[in-house]
C-alpha cells in the first residue's frame, strides 16, 4: 500500500519502451501489407478444386457426384452435372461438373465438403485477400476460379498433400493389381475354355500344352500378389 506497485509498473513499462527498439519480442507489430506473417500449415479459408496435370478441365478430379453439395450446411455449393463425358487425366471418360459455384459470402469454412469427398477432389485453400467491390457476382467463384493444380496443394499443405498423394497412389496400385488379377482370371478362364475346346476335338498340339502351362503360371503370382496387397492394407 506504500505505492511500490506503481513504481514496479512504471519500471515494467519503461522496459517495454526501451526494449521495443532493440528486441522483436517487445515489438510484435507486423506492418501489413508490406510484411506478412507466414500462414500456419493447417490454416484454411475457402475450398478449391484440385486438378492433376496441366489442363484444368481435363485433369479435374471432381466427378460431380454432388455429395459435397448435399452435405454443405449453409448450402453454398451449386453443381450442375454435364450431359457428356470427357476423358480425364488417365484418359478414362468421366462425368465432369459443367457448373461448380461456391458462394464465399455464405461459406463458413467448416471443411465438411472436404471430409465427405470420396475422390479427394475438393480441398481447403488459405488465400484470404479475396475482397472485391462487386458485392454479388464477385463473391461467387466459378469452377475456373476454383481450379488449382496439385502442385499448389503441395505448396500450401505439404503434409496433407503428401498423404493424399500416397493414398491415391495406393488406391491406384490396388486397382491395377485388381485389374491384373481380373485379367489373369479372365485369361485363365479363356485358357480353360480354350483347353476344353482343344481337348474335345482331340487335336493335340504341342503349342496348346505350353499355353496351359503358361496359363497356370500367371494365376499363381496373381494369387500370391492378392494376399500381399490385402496384407498391406
Amino acid at each position: 500500500m506504500l505505492g511500490e506497485g506503481i513504481l514496479k509498473g512504471l519500471a515494467e513499462t519503461a522496459k517495454n519502451f526501451a526494449g521495443s527498439f532493440v528486441s522483436k519480442e517487445r515489438l510484435t507489430t507486423v506492418e501489413y501489407p508490406e510484411e506478412r506473417i507466414a500462414p500456419v500449415e493447417a490454416a484454411r479459408v475457402f475450398p478449391f478444386l484440385i486438378y492433376d496435370g496441366s489442363d484444368w478441365e481435363k485433369g479435374m478430379r471432381c466427378v460431380a457426384c454432388q455429395i459435397c453439395e448435399k452435405e454443405c450446411p449453409p448450402k453454398c455449393i451449386y453443381i450442375e452435372k454435364s450431359k457428356d463425358k470427357k476423358p480425364d487425366f488417365v484418359g478414362k471418360p468421366q462425368i465432369y461438373p459443367a457448373k461448380f459455384d461456391i458462394d464465399i459470402s455464405v461459406c463458413m469454412s467448416c471443411q465438411i465438403c472436404v471430409e465427405v469427398c470420396p475422390f479427394e477432389a475438393i480441398k481447403m485453400d488459405n488465400e484470404f485477400e479475396l475482397a472485391t467491390d462487386d458485392r454479388f457476382g464477385g463473391l461467387l467463384l466459378d469452377r475456373k476460379q476454383l481450379a488449382k493444380p496439385n502442385e499448389y496443394y503441395h505448396k500450401i499443405h505439404p503434409t496433407e498433400a503428401a498423404a493424399v498423394d500416397a493414398k491415391l497412389a495406393e488406391e491406384k496400385a490396388k486397382a491395377e493389381a485388381k485389374a491384373k488379377a481380373d485379367a489373369a482370371a479372365k485369361a485363365k478362364t479363356a485358357a480353360d475354355a480354350a483347353a476344353k475346346a482343344a481337348s474335345a476335338p482331340k487335336t493335340p498340339e504341342g503349342g496348346t500344352g505350353t499355353p496351359t502351362s503358361e496359363a497356370t503360371k500367371p494365376p499363381e503370382p496373381a494369387a500370391k500378389s492378392t494376399p500381399k496387397t490385402e496384407g498391406g492394407d
Binding site: 500500500m1 506504500l2 505505492g3 506503481i6 509498473g9 512504471l10 515494467e12 513499462t13 519503461a14 517495454n16 519502451f17 521495443s20 527498439f21 517487445r26 515489438l27 510484435t28 507489430t29 506492418e31
Partner: protein, 391 residues
Amino acid sequence: MVGTLDQIFVLLKHWIVGLLPPVLQPVVGVLLSVVAIIATFPALFALTTVIERKGLGRIQNRIGPNRTGPLGILQPVADGIKSLTKEDIVPLNADAAVHFLAPLVLVVAVFLEFAVLPMGRNMVLVDMDAGLLFFFAIGASTELSIFMAGWSSRNKYSLLGAMRAVAQMISYEVPLLISSVAVVMITGSLSLVKIVDAQNQYTWGLPHWYIFTPWGCAAFVMYAVAATAETNRSPFDLPEGESELVAGYFTEYSGFKFALFFLGEYLGMFAISGLGTALFLGGWSAPFSFLQFVPSWIWFFGKVMLSICVMIWVRGTLPRMRQDQLMNFAWKFVIPFTLLNLVNVVVWRFMGEGWARWIVCSAIVVVAYVAMARIGMRSKKIAPRSYRYAE
C-alpha cells in the same frame, strides 16, 4: 553569465520595438510576446500529440503512427485537416449559445494561464505580484467551461461526465493550492519570477531547487498527483473515459470544436507542468552550476517536456481510477498529507540552517506517509479473498 543566446528573444523583441514610434511601443511589445506564446505552445501541442501516440505505442508493444511523414511527424497536420473539414454537428435540442461558447471559454482561460510563467531569464509576459494566485484563479474558470459543455449538449451522459469532471477538479484543486502554498511560505512571495530567482542559487554545484528538500519532494509528489487530476489525465480520466462515456462531456462536439477542446486540455497540461517546473524544479535554472552556459529557455522547455513525458509514461502504466476511489484518495489521503506538509515547512523554516532540519523533516514526511498508508489499508479491510460457490 547572461549570454546573448540566453537573451536572444528579449533582444529580438527590443530591436523590433525600437523600430517603431514611441506611441505604439508598449502595445506592440506586448503583442509580440503574446504572438510568440500563441505560436509556440500550439506547435508544442502538435509535437506532443505525436510523441504521446508513438510513446504509448512503444509502451504497448506496437508502433505508433508511422505513415504520415517520416516517423509519423506529420500526423498533427493530418489531424488538423481532419478536424477542420469535419461537419460541425450541433444537436437539435442543444443550447446553441452555450454549446458554442464552452470551447472558447476553455481555450481563452488556458491561454491566459501562460501569461505568468517565467520561460527564461527576463522572459515572462506579465510580472505580477500575485502571479500564482492569478494562475489558480484562471484555472478555476476552466471548470466552468467543462460544465457548460456537458450541460449544453442536453445529453444525460455528457452531463454525468461533466459533473464527475467538475467534482474531481474541485476536489483536487485543494491539494494543488496547498502544496504551492508550501513553496510560497518559504519564498515569501506569490510572484513566480521571485520564486524562480530564489531557486537559482548553487551550493557545491548543486542547485537550491525545492524538490531537493524533504518538504519540497513531498509537496512535488502531491502537486504532480493533483496536476494529473486537474487536467483529467490518466489515471484520473474517468470523465473522458473512452470506454465508459464515449467521450464524456465533449461527446456531442465534432470537428473544430472538438479540436479546440483537445487543444485546451493539452495546453492545460503544459501550463500546469510549467507551473510545477517554476515552483519545484527551479524554472529556467540549470541543474548544475557549470551548465549555466546553456540558455535558460532551453532548460525551462526541457523540464516541461520531461514532465509531459512522465505524464505520458504514467498514462501508459496505470489503470483508470473509479470515481469513488478518486474522491476518497483526494480527501482522505492527499489533503491531510499536504496539510501535514505545511507544518513540515514551518519546522524547516524555524529550525535554522544545518543538517538537523533535514533529518527531522525527512522523518516527518516518511512517518506521515507510512502511517497514513497503513491506516488507509486497515480501514479497507484487505483480507485474502473468500469464495462462495453457487449451490
